[in-house]
């Protein structure tokens, strides 16, 4: 979206630079090539962001699953202790501890080493922000184009 914004700026400058009418084909060609290329790059970035956010979201799901398995292991531990089965209780206690450690590791990993796009952690929130920016850029481009067209016709 940043590249789209830069591209929009370049094209806006070109279209408002007061070139002669004969130069219009060159200006329009430049604008079209720049925009389509920038658009493709942006779409690719957004797709990467989508899958990066999906990978990051998996960490939360994994932590929740580990918590569920930990709760089950605690149930087993309590049941074994109630039954006086020391061996089973010990095994369950070790599993509980390991699940707890693993859950913390997963969460820490998600905090410290998330999948990043352009240096930013890929999240659905970032996608929404970029989408809002893209919509704003598109509306600005349309407004500029309409003003230019109205000016030329007028």
């Amino acid at each position: 979206m940043l590249t789209v914004g830069v591209g929009a700026s370049v094209v806006a400058v070109l279209l408002t630079s007061g070139n002669t009418a004969g130069a219009l084909p060159a200006v329009v060609s430049f604008a079209v090539v720049g925009f389509v290329t920038l658009l493709q790059l942006s779409v690719h970035l957004v797709i990467m962001l989508f899958y990066g956010a999906k990978a990051n979201a998996a960490a939360g799901e994994h932590a929740a699953q580990l918590l569920c398995r930990q709760a089950e292991a605690r149930q087993a531990l309590a049941a074994a202790e109630a039954a006086g089965d020391g061996h089973a209780a010990a095994a369950a206690a070790a599993t509980v501890a390991m699940l707890d450690t693993a859950r913390h590791l997963v969460l820490a990993d998600a905090d410290l080493e998330p999948v990043r796009i352009l240096g930013l952690p890929a999240t659905s929130g970032l996608m929404k922000t970029l989408a809002a920016g893209a919509a704003s850029a598109a509306s600005a481009i349309i407004a500029v184009a309409r003003n230019l067209y109205a000016g030329r016709v007028g």
Binding site: G22, S29, T37, A58, Q65, G86, T95
Partner: protein, 501 residues
Amino acid sequence: MPLVAAILAIMAAPPLTAVVQVGAGTHASGGGSSSEDASDNAISMVSNPLRRRATPSAAASAASVAAASTPPVGAGVIPLEHRPVVDLAPIAFHAGAFLEQFVYQFGYPLSLPLMLAVRGRAAAHAMRFLPVGGTGRVVQALIQVLLSVTTLLPVVGYALEAARVPPAAQGGDAGVLGALYEMVIVLAGAAFQRAVVATKYAYLPSQEYRRVMTSDVPYDLLQRDQILVAWTNVSEPLLEYELALAGQRLGFDADAVAFTLSADAVARLNVLLDYRDDGDDAGDASTGGATALPPLVGTPSADGSVVVTAAAMAKALFLRTNRSALALGVRLGVVSTLLCLATATAPMIVRLSYGAAPFGVTTGQVLTFAAALPCMFAYPALLLAYMRVGILDYRRRANALGRLTTLVSRRATARTLLRTPTFNAAAKVRSLGAVDLSPAAVRSLAPALPLDSPGNVLAWLMVRPLLGGGGGRYPVRCLQPSFAPPPPPPPPPPPTRRHWC
């Protein structure tokens, strides 16, 4: 590192003291702490879990007790860290290599004499700048020469146009401006594409970069490690190599960390691995026919259980996300190619729509516009091809992690098993009325991958970084070939499992 010792304590300590030993190990790690330190902190955790250090007297009195139950720190421990433990060099950026490569690439073929003088013939050969050494190299070198020479033509055309501004009937200043714009587009595209190639070289480890630039690497080896060829459609040998490399960087042997499962659990795993009710990766999920992927196979042990290594699990998950990623890549590639073609021809169409000659009038215009056409297609197409590999890589990782989720999920297991003939006679059930939903029946739908022992939890924990880090050098290094031959077969793994399993 606290967690390393925590796992050591859980694995190695007698079961009844495991929870206490977690605290013991938590403070005993961090670069090879002594067993005395471990015992010191063991006592502190027993007395007060929030205390970081124990008094010397307490440590001394408990040292013998803890030493008797705790092996030396580091023995049999699977290293854990939130970043790769070793081998950070392959993903470091080297500015010198970048600048050198950018000059060679952007200036080619004019830079060839400079390169031969500085680096010699081997470097030019490895970079496929010389059309010698077999059909593949010749073709690639000729394409490079053709594209590079074509890139220079708009510059020549613009120089001709600007040197003698044509009369108004032949475009006048507008013709010069058009030639200028198209030259800028071509040069900018070339600069971006060459910068990407230079960046790939810049992320090579220094030693490997020197080797590439000084020795003649066999063409087959170059091709096998090319990202656009190799990492797009990953072969099993390359995947195994990358997973082993990821394990090495993380500091553990992925073949020595294993799940211990029942035969029934392995059967369930294979069903779950090959089944997706949303149709995703359906092509990978064939349960028969030529396209079926190999099932997950473990090693039977004496007690009737089956041992499945973390590497095998990661490989199975990764392979089952590969085909749909490729399909996505093909779709994106078709759309992208068409858009690049449309973009390249856009200036010509615009000129036609304004009643001008599509390829200009003067010699300079013809030279510029005709040469810019293939360049405006080729450079964006190449750039986007590199970006597509990044998309495939991200998608494979995300989907593989998603599949890992389903393996430990009761919900995913229940949804799959209820709809699979292998496990349910009323397969593809349309109504829950046909399903036994009694508490006992629901309880029987255990996760396909049971995290019911510390060893299984640890192995599951190791699969995550393998999926996240396997092949990580490709996207990080902008998908550059490694030029590195496959490593020699590793020695037999040390008997680490007996320490923690």
